[in-house]
């Protein structure tokens, strides 16, 4: 399979879950608890995406991801700009790997 075909197939299977709800939830009315569930999803997704993935940023050296993530969290907590957060995390990971 050529790389172009792989990418196009990846695009299709990515678009499908994104677009399906548009056509299947026409007359769906959710009870209150489902709405709360849906509202919690972005935060749950972020949590699940961060852990355990961050431990494998540098294969075999989980400390790189952990310290980079802590740097990001501290800067984000003190309202640092999102771009500073990202660049500082890259810099932290870079410095740790030098040791």
């Amino acid at each position: 399979m050529t790389l172009t075909l792989i990418i196009i197939a990846m695009a299709l299977v990515t678009y499908l879950p994104r677009v399906l709800p548009v056509f299947i939830m026409d007359h769906l009315q959710f009870p209150g608890w489902v709405n709360k569930w849906l509202k919690a999803i972005p935060y749950a997704a972020l949590g699940a995406l961060i852990v355990p993935g961050i431990f494998t940023v540098e294969p075999g050296a989980p400390v790189v991801g952990v310290i980079g993530g802590l740097v990001a969290a501290v800067i984000a907590y003190f309202r640092g700009h999102i771009m500073i957060v990202i660049i500082a995390a890259i810099a932290a990971a870079f410095i740790i790997q030098r040791f």
Binding site: I7, A45, L46, I50, A76, M83, I90
Partner: protein, 242 residues
């Protein structure tokens, strides 16, 4: 009088709405730049051509699975596994799409179908966090502004990264994989700061994801942890709260 006032409030044009959306998306737009550059750099270093790197960002447009695909290509995985893993990893967008479009039923289907391509973890998180600001019946144009801004920067950044990929030293590109996680953290931490119970939802699903990942593939672990972890919100969140 009162009705007139309401009319006035809704009289913003589509292009005003589009710019409003674009402005709202600035944190994600700027946050995407270093990540997209990271992706472009790593793609070229993995052996992808400039064309393929750009094609992936334009059509797949899903950061986590694009990085994962690079990992799999680097270790010589065949196509079908990459496609299946991409699907499993992105099934979570199905749930996000339900959440998003449950508030957008007033928008024509063809616009919803276009907007659907713009759903990523980050743009979805942003769009849901700003829901109060967007009002009860936000126009498609405002979401088009949010989503196209993020998408545009993702593609531009990928192009920049793919162009400079061969001159970036390995020591630096090895560190760029953290960029995606830094963005996730940068979106999550301010939300927790504003409303601490969100931290319990995120920590709960992070813990679930870690447990699931011991027994399942990464993609399935993320999907199941998101679905079950967000159930914590049913007890934690108050009805009137975001």
């Amino acid at each position: 009088m009162r009705e007139e006032h309401l009319e006035e409030m809704h009289s913003t044009t589509y292009s005003e709405d589009y710019w409003h959306g674009l402005k709202l998306a600035v944190p994600v737009i700027l946050g995407y730049l270093p990540i997209a550059i990271s992706f472009g750099v790593l793609a070229v270093q993995t052996g992808l051509s400039f064309f393929h790197a750009l094609l992936m960002s334009m059509t797949v447009y899903a950061g986590a699975s694009q990085f994962m695909a690079l990992n799999m290509l680097a270790i010589g995985t065949v196509g079908l596994e990459i496609i299946l893993a991409t699907f499993i990893l992105n099934v979570r967008h199905f749930v996000m799409s339900i959440s998003l479009f449950s508030n957008l039923q007033h928008i024509p289907k063809r616009w919803q179908a276009i907007l659907a391509q713009g759903i990523t973890d980050e743009s979805f998180a942003l769009a849901s966090l700003k829901q109060k600001e967007l009002g009860t019946h936000p126009s498609a144009a405002i979401y088009l502004g949010i989503f196209s801004g993020a998408f545009g920067m993702w593609v531009i950044g990928t192009g920049i990264g793919a162009l400079i990929g061969n001159v970036v030293p390995d020591a630096l590109s090895d560190s760029m994989g953290i960029a995606l996680y830094a963005l996730f953290i940068g979106l999550l931490v301010p939300a927790i700061r504003a409303y601490r119970k969100i931290g319990l939802i995120a920590a709960g699903s992070a813990g679930l994801c870690w447990i699931f990942s011991l027994y399942l593939s990464e993609g399935w672990a993320i999907v199941l942890a998101t679905v079950f972890g967000s159930l914590i919100g049913v007890w934690m969140l108050e009805e009137d709260k975001e």
